[in-house]
Symmetry: C2
Subunit: 479 residues, 2 copies
C-alpha cells in the first residue's frame, strides 16, 4: 500500500487529542454462547481469533510522519497480539466489574506506533455470557463505520456466523459521516470554508435569510430557538480529566415505541425525553439542576437528494425541557424542539446548513471553551447520539448478540455523552462520562427507567401488555 | 495538608514525560496463599483491601498547578476504586498471560488528575498463586522507596502479616536516592551546578586531576576506561514507542554466589556477566551483535562519610564484554571494568564525582539523544540496576512472597532496562523493553539461564550440589 495522506478532518482528531482527551470510540458487545458451549469456550474462541491474521484496511494502517505531514501506511510488522487481547473478569463477574473494566480500557490511549485499534475478548461474566470491547481511533473510522464492520462479521444465521472472519479481516469502506464530537472552533472554520466552496457564494443570501428568521424567533421569545447562549452551564460542563466512567443498560424497543405512538412522537423524541427526565432527577439529587432547560447536542443525518457528499451529519441543539416537572409536558416540549429543528433544517441545503450553524454557533463554541462571553452559559450541556443497529437477532461466532453499547467520547465542557443503538428488541444505551467530574453516573440508568415509566403512565400505556414475543423482560441488565 | 512545591528533580519527571515515554516505575509481586485458602480467597482479600481507605502520604497527594507552578496537594475526593483494582487472568492463567497483562498496564499513563499510583490484585494463575502489580510515578517516589513501602506491609511472620495495613496506608519518608533513568542533559547540568555549589570551587583541581587521569588511560588504551563514545549503537539504541514488553524470572542466589566465589567476584559482577552473556546470544541470534563490547549504565550507591546528603547514586558505565566468546574471559573482563569504576570513584568525593561525570559524559548524552557527534556510538546500550530485597522469607496478608520483579522505565535510545531484586533465596530479574523496537525479549530469560550455566561450568561449580535448603529449584519460573 502506498502512503495515503490524512484528510483535514482525520488530522484534526490527532492534532486536537490531549492526554486527558483521547479521540477513540468504542463499543461493548455481549454475546450468549450456544447452550452446549464447553467451559473453555472463550479460550478456544480467543485461540481461533488469534489465527485470523489476514488484516484488511483500515485495520492494518499505521500512522507515519514524513517531513511533518501525517500519512497512513501499511504496517508490515503487524502484531496481532498487540491488537487482540483475551481478558477475564475477576470474581464475582458481575456487569459492574465489566463496566469498570471497559471504563479503564477506554481511558487509555492507543499507541500511535501501531494501527489505532484494539479488541478485547472478555470471559468470566457470572451469567455465562462473553463480552467484546473494541476501541478504534476516530481518525481511522468513525463509530458508525466501526459498527458497520462489526455487523458484517455477524449473521442472522447462527451456523453461518461460524464461517465469518474476524472484524479486522473485513475490508471496510472509509466513511466519514459523523462530525467531531462537538463542532470545535477550528474544525467549524474548516467546515465553513469547505461548505462555502462546495455550495458556492450563492448560499450567502439563503443563509442570511435563515439568520434573520432566527433573529425574529429570538425577538418573539420562541422557546424552540436555541441560540449560542441558551444552555445553562452546570456540573456537566466542566474541564474533564483523562479517567472515564461507563454505564450501560437496555430498554425494550416496544415500550419506547408505545410511548411515541401515544404522543405522536418519534422513538428518538421519546429517548430524548427519557434523557431529559433522567438528567433532571440526577442533577436535582445533586442540588445542581439549572432553572432553564438543559440543551442536548443531537447529531442528525441530513441526507438529501441535492447533497453531493451523501451522508452528512449536523448537530441539532435540542431542549431537554428539564425545567418541567410534568413528564407529559416535558415530552411535548422535547418533540416541539426537535420538530422546530427539523423544519428549519429542511429549508436549507447541506452547504447552507453548515454555513448557518457556523455563523449561529461559533460564538457559542468560543464561549463554551473559554467562558469569555458568558460564564453562566454554554453551547450544549450533553451530547445524545443514536446509531441504527440490527433489525433482527444476530449471531457472532455462534453466539447470540444480546447487547451493543456504544462507548463514545467526552470533551472539555461536555463531560457526559449518551449514545444508543436501536436494535430490533432493545435500545442499548451507553453512557460515558468523566469519572472525576461527574459522581454516580450509574444512577442515570435507574433514572432512565423511572423516566420511561413516568412517560408510560402519562401516555396511558400499560407496559406489562405492551411487550410481545421474546422481549419479556422490560429492562435488560446490560445491561 | 498545605501545598508542597515539587523539587526540581520531581518536576523533571513530569516535564520530560511524553506520550511514548511515561515515567512511572512498577513492581510485580507473586504470593502463595495459605494451604487452606478458600476458592474466593483473592476476592475476599480484594474486599478487605477496599476497606483500607486511610490513605497516607504520598499516596494521597495529587498534582495541582497554580499560576503554572506545580504543587502536591492532598486529594480530598480520594477515590480508592480508581487506585486499587481487582483483576483476573484469562484461561489458562499462565505466567505468560500475567507478563502480557503487566506489560499492557505498564504501557498506560497514570492520570495526573489523581494521585499518581495504582495497585492491581490479580487472581487466576493456574498454579494458585496471586499477583500484585503496583505502579507509581517517579515524581512521587522512586523505585527503591516504593519497594521499601511494600516491604513495610510484609512480615517475616505469617500471622503478623495479617494485621498489617495496605501499602497506601503506610506513611513513607520521601526519598530520592536514584537518579533519572539516564543522566539526561538538562538534569546533568543541574547536577553539575548543584554539585559545585555543595562541593565548592575547591573541587575543581581534583576534578581536573581525574579528567587528566582519564586522558592518560585513554592514550594507553586501557580497556576499562569507558568514554562518552565507547558504546556501539545497536538495536537496543533506538527511539522507542509507548508499548512495552515485560519478562521476568528468578535465579537461585546460591548459584550466583558460588560462581562469584570461584572468580573472586561479587554477586553483582556475576549478574552483569550473566547479562553480558545473554545479550551477546540475543543480539547474535538477530545478526545484530556489535564488534566492540556493549556498555551498561549501572546505578551504584556512593554513600560516603564525607557526603552531606547521605545516599547518592551514580551511573557507572561498565563493559559487558560481549565481544568475548569465552564465558570465563567475559566474567574476568566485567569484573575488571567494575573494579576500575570502583577504584576511580573511591578517589572522588560525591561532589567531585558528579562534576567529573558531567564533564566526562555530557558530550555522550548529547550524542545519544541526537547522534550529532557520532551516529555509530552512544553513551550506554542498556541500564542494569539492582535493588536490595528481603533477606528472609516474607508474608503479606498471610501469603508467602515468592517473587518480586521490578518493572522499570525505558527511554529513547535505551530500549531495554534490566532491574533485579536480590532476595534471600532468589534473584528476581525484571526486564522491560519497548515492544515494537525489540523482538522476542522473553528469549533473554533463557539466555540468562544459559549464561549462568556456562559460568558455573567455567567456575567448576557443580550446580546440583550448590543448592541447599528450600531452594531446590535452580530456576524459578516467575518466574
Amino acid at each position: 500500500m502506498a502512503l495515503r495522506r490524512l484528510s483535514t478532518m482525520d488530522s484534526a482528531f490527532l492534532v486536537l487529542e490531549r492526554q486527558h482527551l483521547p479521540f477513540h470510540v468504542g463499543g461493548l458487545m455481549l454475546f450468549q454462547p450456544p447452550a452446549d458451549a464447553p467451559p473453555d469456550f472463550a479460550a478456544k474462541l480467543a485461540e481461533r481469533l488469534r489465527q485470523s491474521t489476514q488484516t484488511a484496511a483500515p485495520f492494518n494502517r499505521r500512522l507515519v510522519s514524513r517531513l511533518g505531514v501525517k500519512f497512513w501506511e501499511e504496517d508490515r510488522d503487524f502484531d496481532l497480539a498487540h491488537h487482540f487481547v483475551h481478558l477475564a473478569l475477576p470474581q464475582p463477574g458481575r456487569i459492574r466489574e465489566l463496566l469498570d473494566m471497559v471504563a479503564r480500557m477506554h481511558s487509555a490511549h492507543l499507541d500511535r506506533a501501531y494501527p489505532l485499534w484494539r479488541t478485547y475478548l472478555i470471559e468470566g461474566l457470572e451469567d455465562g455470557r462473553i463480552a467484546v470491547y473494541s476501541m478504534i481511533h476516530h481518525a481511522l473510522v468513525d463509530g458508525v463505520a466501526a459498527l458497520r464492520v462489526q455487523m458484517k462479521t455477524m449473521s442472522a444465521d447462527r451456523e453461518e456466523s461460524l464461517t465469518l472472519p474476524a472484524p479486522w479481516e473485513m475490508k471496510t469502506r472509509k466513511t466519514r459521516n459523523v462530525p467531531l464530537p462537538i463542532p470545535a472552533f477550528s474544525t467549524g472554520s474548516i467546515a465553513t470554508v469547505s461548505a462555502l466552496l462546495r455550495g458556492g457564494r450563492k448560499s450567502i443570501p439563503a443563509v442570511t435569510r435563515q439568520l434573520r428568521r432566527s433573529l425574529q424567533d429570538y425577538r418573539s421569545n420562541n422557546p424552540d430557538l436555541i441560540t449560542s447562549f441558551s444552555a445553562p452551564r452546570c456540573i456537566l460542563n466542566q474541564k474533564i480529566t483523562g479517567s472515564r466512567r461507563f454505564a450501560a443498560q437496555s430498554y425494550a424497543t416496544d415500550r419506547i415505541k408505545a410511548v411515541g405512538e401515544a404522543f405522536e412522537a418519534t422513538s428518538n423524541d421519546v429517548i430524548l425525553a427519557m434523557c431529559g427526565g433522567a438528567l433532571r432527577r440526577y442533577l436535582d439529587d445533586l442540588h445542581a439542576l439549572p432553572e432553564s432547560p438543559l440543551i442536548a447536542g443531537v447529531p442528525v443525518s441530513t441526507r438529501r437528494d441535492d447533497s453531493e457528499t451523501g451522508n452528512q451529519v449536523f448537530f441539532a441543539l435540542t431542549s431537554l425541557a428539564t425545567h418541567l416537572a410534568n413528564p407529559a409536558a416535558r415530552m411535548r416540549a422535547v418533540k416541539s424542539s426537535m420538530d422546530y429543528n427539523k423544519q428549519r433544517m429542511a429549508q436549507m441545503s447541506v452547504a447552507e446548513l453548515v454555513a448557518y450553524s457556523s455563523a449561529m454557533y461559533a460564538p457559542g463554541v468560543v464561549n463554551m471553551l473559554t467562558g469569555l462571553v458568558n460564564r453562566k452559559r454554554t453551547l450544549m450541556n450533553v451530547v445524545i447520539s443514536h446509531v441504527p443497529g440490527p433489525r433482527t437477532p444476530m449471531y457472532w461466532q455462534g453466539c447470540e448478540l444480546t447487547g451493543l453499547y456504544p462507548v463514545s467520547i467526552v470533551i472539555d465542557e461536555v463531560a457526559l455523552n449518551i449514545t444508543l443503538v436501536r436494535r430490533h428488541d432493545f435500545v442499548d444505551f451507553g453512557l460515558i462520562a468523566c469519572r472525576k467530574t461527574l459522581p454516580q453516573v450509574q444512577r442515570l440508568l435507574d433514572h432512565l427507567e423511572t423516566a420511561l415509566q413516568e412517560l408510560e403512565t402519562a401516555a396511558g400505556v400499560k407496559p406489562a401488555t405492551a411487550i410481545t414475543g421474546k422481549s419479556r423482560k422490560r429492562t435488560h441488565k446490560p445491561a
